[in-house]
Symmetry: C2
Subunit: 198 residues, 2 copies
């Protein structure tokens, strides 16, 4: 997964192909939700009522199945960022987006790890989406920095490291004991500009 074109699965043309593609995707979403990104591909195929070879036909690597299963959600995140970019309150915009980003990054166990890899490895299915997120996030950060609300020496890469770390912590903790809102608040307050405080 380091060389060659990134594989973005496209919907097949034949009717049975599309049917199976959709069934596999639905089963995968359910399985990832329950068992994390390491869920058994064979049981996903079985759940979709399809032979294992069919799954591999549509999604030649686990990462491409994960990409397809998360594409829409991450696209929403990017769209939301672009909507927020014109906000008159850049700090609030950034804060809101960070919250949503962490939520999306930890949709299921193991996802952040895959996304973190994809961020810098171009030969990866999710790389395109990650780049888009990076761009839109960087814009929000830059706006807040220009307004003097966020420390100017914080790079987009560092912001993503902080968000990934928070998402990973959220992923680890049990759903009922989710400390990520508090963690995110700490991070946000930690990177706001000092002069803003009384």
């Amino acid at each position: 997964m380091t060389t060659g074109m990134p594989h973005i699965a496209q919907r097949p043309r034949r009717a049975d192909g599309r049917r199976n593609y959709d069934a596999i995707l639905a089963a995968a979403r359910k399985a990832f939700e329950a068992d994390g990104s390491e869920a058994s591909l064979e049981s996903i195929a079985a759940q979709a009522g399809v032979a294992i070879g069919t799954l591999y036909r549509h999604f030649p690597a686990r990462a491409s199945l994960v990409e397809a299963a998360t594409r829409d959600g991450l696209a929403d995140l990017v769209a939301h960022a672009e909507r927020l970019a014109s906000s008159s309150d850049p700090l609030r915009a950034l804060s809101e987006w960070m919250e949503q980003a962490v939520r999306h990054f930890s949709t299921f166990r193991g996802l952040v790890g895959i996304l973190a890899q994809s961020m810098y490895d171009e030969g990866t299915p999710s790389h395109a989406m990650c780049s888009a997120m990076h761009r839109s996030g960087a814009d929000l950060l830059h706006a807040a920095q220009t307004a003097g609300l966020i420390r100017a020496d914080l790079t987009p890469g560092e912001l993503f490291d902080l968000l990934s770390g928070a998402a990973w912590v959220r992923e680890q903790s049990l759903p009922d004991r989710d400390g990520s809102p508090r963690l995110l608040r700490l991070i946000l307050e930690g990177i706001t500009t000092r002069a803003q405080e009384p």
Copy 2:
């Protein structure tokens, strides 16, 4: 791994037993270093010149092998914390300890995840060591808070979340592109008391 006594592997009594125990541990350290905590146990056994059953005799679960492989390092960390506890510069002490903690947490890929689990799951081999770390880290934090140098509303649990997140990021990034020193600095500056700044 949720019920029953935590299994702390103890050195076996017979000479051949001790020999094999040590050989397995050495092989495991090397394998974890190279392949992360998910390294193949069968190849570890082979590397140690021992049958797979022997490995399982000494380390009935992967987690107990990880525990044994990291025990000394984490014990050092706790000892260092206790030495730092009497420092006249609590902020520097905390900072130094945090740096070392992140380094130890990310000794090899997958370790932070295991430690994060062990922190709150008592039926886990590493739980005892994690508790000790928690205590000694909390002391350093408390000292810095009493001196008014760290925000008073930060709990030890939150500090560990931040450290775990940073360690995870470090674990993900390639050795040459390690951004964790910078990340740690951001975190530290983020939790210092606001009035301290000019």
